[in-house]
């Protein structure tokens, strides 16, 4: 938050995150903590919805699970990175898959970061989100 947000609160836009994750429990947990951190969080319970929202909402960041109904996270990532409207949006992958081939594939497709859920605390994931948004907003 900059000084301008106190002088002109209406003008300071909240950074927007789309969370593409089919587990409603995680949507609730992360939605709550990210909102408390001052972000606007938009939920997508499947990949198709996530892609559609990414195009219409123009988020600052996408948090993406890989195991999703309808289309999987790899295909979602591929489509996001091919589309002119969404390819510049940083994507953090948050998943339980930890195979080296999955990690390589996701990074080749253009994700910024690959986080294995089991290896990170809630605060650590939030810190990664914070760092990524800071890095990309200064570009």
């Amino acid at each position: 938050m900059t000084v301008s947000c106190y002088l002109f609160p209406v003008l300071e836009k909240m950074q927007k995150i789309i969370f593409i994750e089919d587990e409603s429990a995680l949507q609730k947990t992360f939605g709550e903590i990210l909102k408390q951190e001052g972000y606007e969080v938009i939920s997508a319970l499947d990949g198709e919805t996530g892609i559609r929202l990414a195009k219409t909402q123009k988020p600052d960041l996408i948090l993406l699970d890989l195991v999703l109904p309808k289309i999987n996270g790899f295909d979602v990532l591929g489509q996001l990175k091919k589309d002119e409207e969404t390819k510049e949006i940083p994507v953090i992958v948050l998943t339980n898959l930890e195979g080296a081939e999955d990690i390589d594939r996701v990074l080749e497709l253009g994700a910024t970061t690959y986080l294995v859920k089991e290896n990170y605390s809630l605060e650590e994931v939030v810190e990664k989100v914070r760092q990524t948004l800071k890095r990309y907003s200064s570009l």
Partner: protein
């Protein structure tokens, strides 16, 4: 089985020819015997194939269930972390104790699910090896750093010495890390009071020898032949009620052998344990 069948038929023919005058009777006996042996062979082969298939299905089941458990366990852990953070309102100390119980036990379940997944992959021969050049010295130092909060709180000292001529090795870093982490975890976990863990890394011809020595509770002589078995935990460990899945050493040995290495140990109850792990440089 084929050799046994031929041997039985040959013996029957030899005995039959000796004691029975009519060759047609001998041939008939041999034919009946052959049919019986074929049926027995078929039943044994079928049973064996069913056993192999049952074992495969069991491993696959464990793998699927363990994998499926990881998501809800992550959900539980993060929900508990959110509650314990106080972000949703002040938590009383008494409530915090119970949240800690929930968190610790969900971590235990996660650990078990992770270990079961690794064990099922080992049994299915699906443990991938993603080789790359790594510095073993760097990896060990990193692990020791990870353990610092626990060892400091437990008044344990970890000392690490390595030879100067340790080269980088071509191996799977995640699996080497798993081996050393398991051995280090056992070393620190089973030290009752103020203790010391000494780690040495030496080069011996074309191999590296990793040694870890602790002054912990040791392994009773009667239990030593079982320690690499799945779910085995020594009687003296169970007495101290320290937690563990009982899969660590099974996993460690399986991975070490897959990498062309060898793991050995020496232990004395109430004195401590030394584990050695050798693996080839190339």
């Amino acid at each position: 089985m084929g050799i046994i069948t031929i041997a039985i038929i040959s013996a029957t023919y030899a005995i039959g020819i000796r004691y029975i005058n009519e060759p047609e009777v001998v041939i008939l006996i041999i034919l009946i015997l052959s049919v019986i042996l074929l049926i027995i062979t078929f039943i044994i082969t079928q049973s064996f194939e069913r056993l192999v298939e049952a074992n495969r299905l069991k491993s696959e089941f464990v793998s699927i269930v363990s994998h499926q458990l990881r998501s809800p366990l992550s959900n539980i852990r993060w929900a508990i972390e959110l509650l314990m953070s106080g972000r949703l309102g002040k938590i009383e100390e008494a409530q915090l104790d119970y949240f800690r119980i929930l968190k610790d036990n969900s971590s235990r379940m996660s650990e078990l699910a992770r270990d079961l997944l690794i064990v099922s992959r080992i049994e299915q021969g699906k443990l991938p090896l993603n080789v790359q050049h790594i510095s073993l010295v760097g990896l060990i130092k990193g692990l020791i750093a990870d353990f610092q909060p626990f060892v400091q709180a437990s008044n344990i000292e970890i000392v690490f010495e390595s030879d100067d001529n340790i080269p980088d090795i071509l191996t799977d870093p995640s699996q080497v890390k798993l081996i050393i982490e398991n051995l280090l975890d056992n070393a620190v976990r089973y030290i009752k009071e103020k203790g010391k863990v000494e780690i040495k890394l030496k080069r011996k011809d074309d191999s590296l020898v990793f040694q870890i020595k602790d002054n912990g509770v040791g392994i009773p002589q009667t239990d030593q032949k079982y320690i690499f078995q799945k779910f085995f935990r020594s009687s003296n460990i169970l007495k101290h009620q320290t937690q563990g899945t009982g899969l660590g050493l099974f996993i460690t040995k399986a991975i070490a052998e897959k990498m062309g290495g060898e793991i050995k140990f020496k232990s004395e109850e109430n004195k401590g344990t030394i584990f050695w792990f050798t693996f080839p440089i190339k």
